[in-house]
Subunit: 424 residues, 4 copies
């Protein structure tokens, strides 16, 4: 289902007066509201195809209703999100869950929905029914070259699907690692993985990037072969200029300073992009901004300042993607909340007075530096984010409209209550 | 399949000389080897029915082969373990996975295999196909009394199955909790859970215990309604004398001092039993003793000293159970390794000279206290553990015999390669 | 030094127009701004006497300037803070650092500065020059009754000082614990501590409370004898109705859900009060709200809802205190930032629509529950907090005025650059 | 004080029979006991000069007795340790605490005690009385070039002292970092630090190494400018071939897999050496092997296998040093326990059958790999370690002899009870 312009307009009209009041207030408080609104309007976050259904844990899964069961329906879900917020104009596909049957029809559908194909994701952490070799003991790290070759070939196949669709990046997340001391020779696993990544890298088109994602633990519980940013950096720097590190906010040890990692990777020109989510304990894959919103702001503060310092384009020089799992919420509402949290953090980061901050830093005026950050963070930027949506033709209150129009009920009617999306 | 006495004897004969050498050496070093060997021989660890197949994570599961697909086959697997080590003389069942069809036949089989039915486990963390209400938002904590009642009734049903089989305890592990701030009213959830547990408690036979298990996180990722030992203690103390806390080694926040928790619960007469496993990050459910064997020893040191101080019987006054998941190993080999690690830690703890330790503590002689513990821990007690097995008719080298006889191949022949055990 | 009314008025006049604009805006958005402002105005946070100088770590201390070197100067510093924000109307003393020489003069000074004497703090974690027994191996837990008695007597002495000054509570924080496995008999340490606390409890005046503070680790690095809320609860419940648990935000294991602990302690009528600070790794004692402001809000959300549910008075039924250390900032500026962060979190918590939240919880509408919390949290409440200050005669921008008047320079002139406050 | 040969011989004679029994037993169980004993005898662990007195925390320090108050006495303490175990044949000095007044006399004393001068340690985390610029806001990272220059000059001065004494390495541990978000520009801090380290590197003699130590947190509590192995690797790889990473076991986030870090740094030829200690929570600086002895074994397993694979010399191609703090034990006893734990872990690692392990890894035989490691770890290697001591002329039971001879009482007699060693 898609929304009509009049549905959105009607919704916005009812909220417009209240919105204008907020916009006027905050615009009077910040130096250049118009510039911030423009940046917000241009900023797009990709939605992963596997986050459109309900997720689960090893203890079970409680299904949602009206989940998309085809690739086309997944695009339609993202199209719907994009209509609601005009900030979700890209979808990130996962192979083999999303192998397109009719590429040109799919591209046409994407164009119609104004969606781009973001990073392609390979899967070597599960065995597929028809697969020759098992990934039980790893994929690109495997002691058996035949298994590694199968995983390499799979990644190259993913690139090909991506080329057909117009994607320009490959995200490699490896579950590779070990569950027990002694299971792996760490050097051997590292060197095998590097060699395998090298073959994938060689198959990468010139205008593509490959993102090497790291993760501290899970599903392996003793070691991970791309376990932290340092390891990902080692791979990326040995591979070459098209290889980058991808940061998933949930993939760290407790208490890690992620914003510093981001700043240093930017400094080394090896930051590739993000998987946004939030977490309290491990890779909890919760809604972005639902647990540690200040950390999210601090990350965006580093991104804005660091990208500007290098003359990077906020909208395209890094990959922005959500990677969350929705166990107890409607997946579309959850994604709307995630995108909103990202936009809020981005807007707050744009508010930081970096000239003043640099001066405070030069004077070791720590209290003042904190005041500057907190001033930006404590500002209620929601009217700026809403205005960016309004100008782009989206809804002032996306979740409000989603509920008002009973979108989920419509989807259940269209698709049935018991459809299940592929994913985790 | 079962082993014959001659298979075991033949295996032992080949290792006997080497074993005798070790036994003589260590017996010459410790005050009363015979007493320790007797205690080891009497010590039994229950095997959970759901750990007899391969486990998995939310990212997938790599199946083993020849897994037991019926309750009878599960008993046979445990019977086989018990033949190999004579330390696994009990099975812990899980409802609804293990609903007995023919109780008397099952009890006969258990008798034949010399197995007891340990704690019964209920399941309110998953929805069953025919279930009226969903546990998506909790079970005993649920805001809707009808859902709570369903979960209460299920637990009472589990008790009934247990009574028929001769079990005397119920383990209640709740996934109840929340994934996001605001989802729950913490007081409401606590009070609902307490009320629900109260109804289950009222249905408990006089000679039964109920174990309230706590867990810090997973599958809920913001809060857990029985989240730590303090919360479990609150429930157990409000419920009454038959309610106890159950400690699962993997259910704590990072760096928790589990041995101190154990000592304090013993002091409060509220320690009920254990789910043994090991972990590095979260509830990794790895083989017991594979990551932090010294912690395991320290826990047993508290248990031995604390139980002796209260005149408790090591073999029956607490519930001893493994709760591990086997993702990359043969499940039976993994369980043999777990039981061995438990026996080693128990033996080391029995070696601790508590009189000398108490004297060191009274003198604040910290270095000496450490020496005493390390002296016990550094002793190679494997010959004592093996001797306990030998005297009980089990194998000197259980995994060695398991491999020698190609037991798994036999099971695959009997059951087929693609059988799948119920479990996680 | 003290401020004059005209200094404050002049400062406020310059900011008034801007302030009024913000106040009008936010007042138009929230249901009852006046009620919130009144609650903010009534809310007072005690300042610990040991946080008025610069703190340090075991690696060293970088001194500030113009630190208060007498108890009278400490009161003056707090008086100054209170003039600036009218939210710091109490001081929490620490014995033996703050033994009053002239009680009546001190009380007169406090009255003059409009300050109350909040909880008294004992010190059994350090040896004093003239002390008979050492606390190297603990105080209330010590194996030697003579050491325990010395610590008990000290606490009773602290109560007496407090009685003279008009305080009504004693905070007992124990460093007691152990650095190595085997050092302590956990049961013995617990029981000794309980007995010692009992003697202190018996000396407690009828209208006093005793707060038993818990801490996971540091300065002992293996175990702590009041290590978590569960242990503190055990002591408090065994001691009696005047004993409560005190929560210091930095005293938990990584990832602990502190807001749930707070809610459960309130439910059990055993929550006594708070030591506010912030932290990323351990007991970092950073400025309140500087690292995890959303957690602070969630804690206040539980406090407001939970206290209201029991008809408690926000201003006096719990103890509110800062316990932070200032290593790199001016201590007074740091404290102003801490109080501001607390007031902001309190104001946001007052904005939560608990009726709507309860309805969402009853419907398991998790997305809506999150919206309700985030709506309150994302509101810029600073004008409400500032208005509460304005109405109470304090500064609209306390740090701004502190800097404008060059207060620290004045203090250095009065006291000298090299004065050093007692503390950590 | 020094021991006489006859004191040691007499002690050994009394224990010899028991020792021989153990040695014969274990020698019969391992392939080449003699080779292991030789390696143990050759292995030397440096003692840091600052660990010879009692340490403390920010909450206070409980002094020991008879602590060395001069550099000469520190050497004598290490000489004594070396007499007792013949495994502590080196001392690591710290400037400015250990500035030698008479270099040639000091070298003569070292020769007499058979001690080498291990890595030199600089100190830019504290301000010295006569220092021009403060390190309150960092040293090599500082925004002010003058401060950086002072810190650079200090490090170069430390190298010069080291050259005079015959040391060949400099350990740079930086407290540099920040306590609050916004305090630092991460890029600026990194680049300043790199530039500063570059100047120090340029002053490094050809046959020297510089070790860049990393630490996750403390004394800064928001960010650290050499915060993890990845950052240290970045510095070391940019500096050049003489720069290496130094691993302190206590400097990681919770749950870090240190053995994997060690293996990867070895693989990258950037592992420089170790600061051994143990910890449960943070940088607790506890006795080596007192909390996580299995982790210590796993680290040595990586070291032995990894160094052998690269043909490195165990005794000199990496720097081995203890860095512990002794708050509740006699510092010399504590160090004896640390060295013993290191030797035990090293001996266990030498027992690992790497050929068999590699075969298990090639077969993904995880259970077997675990058996191989546990077989080595569970072996009681203490007789091998003791034999290495015996052959080298040291004591079979170093702590036993230390106590038997009442060494500490002697030192108190010589030095007085209230002497205080420099250190933390």
């Amino acid at each position: 289902m898609l929304l009509t312009k009049s549905q959105i307009d009607q919704h916005n009209d009812a909220l417009l007066q209240q919105h204008q009041r907020g916009l006027e207030y905050v615009s009077g408080n910040v130096p250049d509201a118009a510039a911030i609104i423009n940046k917000l309007a241009a900023f797009q976050v990709a939605i992963p195809s596997w986050a459109l259904g309900n997720g689960g844990t090893r203890f079970g899964r409680f299904a949602g209703k009206g989940e998309p069961s085809t690739l086309e329906q997944k695009l339609e879900d993202v199209g719907l999100l994009h209509q609601l917020n005009r900030s979700s104009g890209a979808i990130s596909l996962h192979i083999p869950w999303d192998i397109p049957k009719n590429v040109s029809a799919l591209k046409q559908l994407a164009t119609q929905l104004d969606l781009k194909f973001d990073a392609m994701n390979s899967n070597t952490f599960q065995d597929q029914p028809d697969q020759q070799h098992s990934y039980k003991y790893g994929s690109l790290q495997h002691v058996d070259k035949a298994v590694r070759q199968q995983a390499i070939d799979h990644n190259i196949e993913v690139i090909k699907y991506g080329q057909e669709l117009g994607s320009q990046s490959l995200t490699v997340w490896l579950a590779d690692g070990s569950c027990f001391p002694g299971q792996l020779n760490f050097r051997g696993a590292f060197n095998n993985t590097l060699e395998s990544l090298g073959e994938i890298y060689n198959a990468l088109p010139d205008d593509w990037k490959v993102f090497v994602e790291y993760k501290a633990f899970e599903p392996n519980f003793y070691s991970t072969t791309v376990g932290d940013w340092g390891q990902s950096y080692l791979y990326a720097s040995k591979l070459g200029a098209k290889a980058y590190t991808l940061v998933d906010l949930g993939h760290h040890l407790p208490n890690a300073n992620i914003e510093q990692i981001v700043a240093l990777l930017l400094n080394e020109k090896k930051l590739g992009g993000f998987h946004f989510n939030d977490s309290k304990y491990g890779d909890d894959d919760l809604t972005v901004g639902s647990i540690k919103p200040y950390q999210l702001f601090l990350i965006f503060k580093e991104l804005v300042e660091g990208m500007d310092a290098r003359g990077m384009d906020h909208t395209k020089d890094l990959g922005w993607m959500i990677d969350a799992s929705h166990n107890v919420k409607d997946s579309l509402e959850d994604l709307l909340q995630s995108v909103e949290a990202i936009n809020i953090a981005y807007a707050q980061a744009l508010l930081v007075d970096n000239t003043k901050l640099l001066a405070a830093q030069q004077n070791n005026d720590v209290a003042q530096a904190q005041e500057i950050l907190q001033d930006a963070y404590r500002t209620d930027v929601r009217p700026l984010v809403a205005e960016a949506r309004l100008k782009a033709g989206a809804a002032l209150d996306p979740i409000g409209l989603f509920r008002q129009l009973k979108v989920r009920d419509q989807l259940v009617k269209e698709r049935g209550a018991n459809t299940v999306a592929t994913g985790l």
